[in-house]
């Protein structure tokens, strides 16, 4: 038992994996216990959870950000080529 608890407290790989699943589905009772126990001892994983939410938010906004300020531009040559082909279609 003590070994099992040690394992939960130190296993950041498992805790981060569980925390991501928690974003999408309800965890089982065992998983919930495991994650809670881990987070009582691990500040780094707490940061991970916060930051994951920030990343999710940013990913939802990236399309709008790209539409407003496209970082890369199609070259004029490619644009002309596409326009030419569109013009040639019936």
């Amino acid at each position: 038992m003590a070994g099992k608890i040690q394992h939960i407290i130190h296993n950041c790989k498992e805790a981060t994996h569980l925390s991501l699943q928690k974003e999408e589905r309800a965890l089982s009772i065992k998983e919930t216990f495991q994650l809670r126990l881990h987070l009582m001892y691990c500040d780094a994983c707490k940061q991970f959870i916060k930051q994951s939410a920030i990343i999710n938010k940013a990913m939802l906004q990236i399309k709008d950000a790209i539409l407003q300020h496209p970082p890369q531009k199609l070259s004029q040559e490619v644009k002309d080529n596409i326009q030419q082909q569109l013009n040639d279609l019936p």
């Binding site: 940061q47 916060k50 930051q51 399309k63 080529n81 596409i82």
Partner: protein
């Protein structure tokens, strides 16, 4: 309200936009250019079928997405996710966690998430941030980024993603986990720690 199409404006309005979306997913400039071109041509041919239920932008984006799915299907690169994940498991894990005989995988000092500060939420409202985000997506192995984008940018349902990419549920979660770890550390290094 029903939306209408204005094909004469497409290139000007959405050319660069679609190009950047394509670049996130295929990462090579020439492939992205080809995909944008094919999308516009297909869209033009299909314009009579546009029912006006979505915006022009959404409609064009979905045509591009279908082209990209075909592109990956032809390459066959979505196959063998299982093999890929198994082969890279050890080397991936040791990038982030302490490993070794009998070692429980925990963060090591230089990979542990550090505090992004109380303003972190606002720091993602800057135009410059999205260049870094784009860079971090493009840096990821495409087996990971394609799934990550489908989930978090295109907001597809998990079971649809699993079907589309031929993934088991557990492989899906391994991919999401790896992608998040890479993304987090890339953003921390290139953005949140730089400010």
């Amino acid at each position: 309200m029903l939306h209408t199409l204005e094909p004469a404006q497409w290139l000007k309005r959405y050319g660069d936009y679609l190009f950047n979306i394509a670049l996130l997913k295929v990462s090579h400039t020439e492939q992205a250019e080809d995909l944008v071109q094919e999308s516009f041509l297909s869209a033009y041919k299909a314009r009579e079928g546009f029912k006006g239920g979505s915006t022009e932008k959404t409609w064009l984006t979905s045509i591009l997405n279908n082209k990209i799915i075909d592109f990956y299907r032809k390459k066959g690169s979505q196959k063998n996710a299982q093999t890929y994940l198994i082969e890279t498991e050890a080397s991936f894990t040791e990038q982030f966690f302490a490993t070794g005989e009998g070692v429980i995988p925990h963060w090591v000092e230089h990979t542990a998430p550090s505090d992004w500060g109380s303003q972190a939420d606002q720091k993602i409202n800057q135009q410059e941030f999205y260049k870094i985000l784009q860079f971090c997506i493009q840096k990821m192995p495409s087996k990971l980024s394609s799934v990550f984008i489908a989930k978090f940018m295109d907001e597809e349902e998990t079971d649809i993603i699993c079907k589309e990419f031929e993934l088991s549920s557990s492989n899906y979660w391994v991919i999401i986990h790896r992608a998040k770890l890479l993304m987090r550390s890339c953003l921390e290094k290139n953005w949140f720690k730089q400010l």
